[in-house]
């Protein structure tokens, strides 16, 4: 090589001062960006824990977790979280029952049956659906869904769990569709061809090969969607009512953990009172529920990756 590069005669052992300074600064700035989210998470968990611990100094954790009456503002107050937990399960479970079959069906349609042109139309519509603010769903539940529910089931309360389940189902639908569709489409083309080459019909291939191969990713999408439904707040606070009670009847008015937190944090509970601290204890419970669901979904996804590699 006859060409002489600018660095050809540079000292190879030590980086130049300016370059080292820039590299070091960038490293620090990027580290701070990453650290911000970590510190925020740690901070939130700490606040939840500290305030909850004060609450559990007054109320036994056994009573909290097993009590079946939630009347924190009565005299004497009772702090059994089960009615709120029950309300959350009712709404999240109901929305899952509605959204999972619909979402899976739509995902299979988009991935296996729809023409590319149809997919190009449907996917943006799903994205729009995902972008609608949850408060809009909340008042749609009251002004639109509730009258329909009450015309079918005259015994239903104006605010009831079914209202909330229906709108939450619509809210989590795009998540199920898009995550499940991604998983279905990531099933290698070679598997599809292998099955078609054996004289399988589209239904055979979808049910017998594609779905089983994509099963763990689909399960993970369901669980993530349920976690989203558990944490959903605004629509539920508006549509489901504010009556914490132990019921599995979707036509009853109920209250979820999230709706309770909304109600209490906008109320007039002075800081440091037991009523104020309840929202941290409920928040911690809620956080643990969604955390468990997220961890479960990650675990299932990890297993799927191992299966493919």
């Amino acid at each position: 090589m006859s060409a002489v590069l600018p660095h050809a005669s540079a000292d190879l052992t030590a980086p130049k001062g300016q370059r080292r300074w820039i590299e070091g600064t960038m490293h620090t700035i990027l580290w701070l960006c990453a650290a911000a989210s970590v510190f925020t998470t740690v901070g939130i968990v700490l606040i939840l824990l500290v305030e909850s611990l004060q609450f559990f100094g007054h109320v036994s954790i056994v009573e909290f977790l097993t009590g079946t009456t939630w009347t924190p503002h009565s005299n004497p107050p009772q702090f059994g979280i089960l009615p709120l937990f029950c309300g959350t399960i009712l709404v999240a479970g109901g929305s899952a029952v509605i959204a999972i079959p619909l979402g899976l069906g739509a995902a299979i349609y988009l991935s296996e049956y729809a023409s590319p042109r149809m997919r190009d139309v449907l996917k943006p519509i799903l994205e729009i659906l995902a972008g609608i603010p949850s408060v809009v769903f909340g008042y749609l539940a009251i002004v639109f869904v509730s009258p329909i529910v009450r015309s079918i089931f005259p015994s239903a309360d104006i605010f009831n769990a079914l209202n909330a389940s229906i709108v939450v189902a619509i809210m989590i639908l795009p998540m199920i569709v898009s995550l499940s569709e991604d998983t279905l489409r990531s099933v290698p083309r070679s598997l599809r061809e292998g099955a078609y080459a054996l004289g399988a019909t589209k239904l055979d291939v979808t049910v017998g090969v594609i779905l089983p191969a994509a099963l763990s990713g689909i399960m993970a999408s369901f669980i993530l969607a349920i976690a989203r439904a558990v944490g959903e707040t605004m629509a539920v606070a508006l549509a489901a009512g504010k009556r914490p009670q132990m019921t599995l009847n979707p036509l009853d008015s109920i209250q979820t953990m999230t709706a309770y937190i909304v109600e209490t944090s906008k109320g007039d509970n002075p800081q440091g009172t037991l009523g104020y601290q309840t929202i941290f204890a409920v928040g911690l419970t809620l956080f643990l529920c969604t955390l468990a669901l997220n961890v479960l979904a990650q675990w299932i996804l990890k297993r799927m990756r191992e299966q493919y590699e």
Binding site: S190, L198, G199, A200, Q307
Partner: protein, 284 residues
Amino acid sequence: MMTEASPPARPTRPVTQRLTTVADMRPADDFLERPQKVVATNVNFFYGSHQALHDISLRMPQNCVTALIGPSGCGKSTFLRCLNRMNDMIEGTRVEGEILLEDIDIYRPKTDVVELRKRVGMVFQKSNPFPKSIYENVAYGPRVAGVKQRDVLDGIVEQSLRRSALWEEVSDRLNESALRLSGGQQQRLCIARALATDPDVLLMDEPASALDPKSTARIEDLIFELKDTYTIVIVTHNMQQAARVSDQTAFFYEGHLVEAGATTDLFTKPRQKQTEEYITGRFG
């Protein structure tokens, strides 16, 4: 049936060896006089506006191995995939001309593609076992064809695995995941899976290109045995392989069928200059 220990039915030669000598090849027999199993006439194929095959006419006689050779992108795989209408799955493709399976035009509008693919099986370049057990992989074809009785399925699975020379290795672990088999075993499983639907024709798209020499030799022995029962069309990059396993060879170049004929003739006295240059390794 062969096992790893027993000597192969026919001496296998190292794959790395340069062009096989005339003595290694079977003589051009009367294969063109045999009944024609698949006859392609004036086939043109288009991906959108791009024409990938130009006026291909080729006869594939029964119980013969037809090898399709040629450089990458020459259209040999595309042609193979026309024979079981696998290209139908790709959007925007179009076929012109006629392909007869026995006396049925497989591209006539009322052809049942599902039935066609039961009669024309396919083995792919990259082994593609389903993420299911060994048993369920082989039983898949018969199951979708409606076979339900367990003892019938058991029989098909065993027979297919024996034919693909895999039975001895897997008979005691049929319920294990197929994904745990080695690459060579997976490919023989895919062959067994294709045989389980009892096809007339077996299409093989570079079935050994991802395998080590030993597994390749086994697949080649297998092809040699299978042609007694099936009509085989194999795409291969490897000219020694074409010379070893096939009765007829067709040389494709840039979407055209340059030359087809008895394998011995094509490799010893090619009529076209392009063929000669390709088989002597001057390009490709």
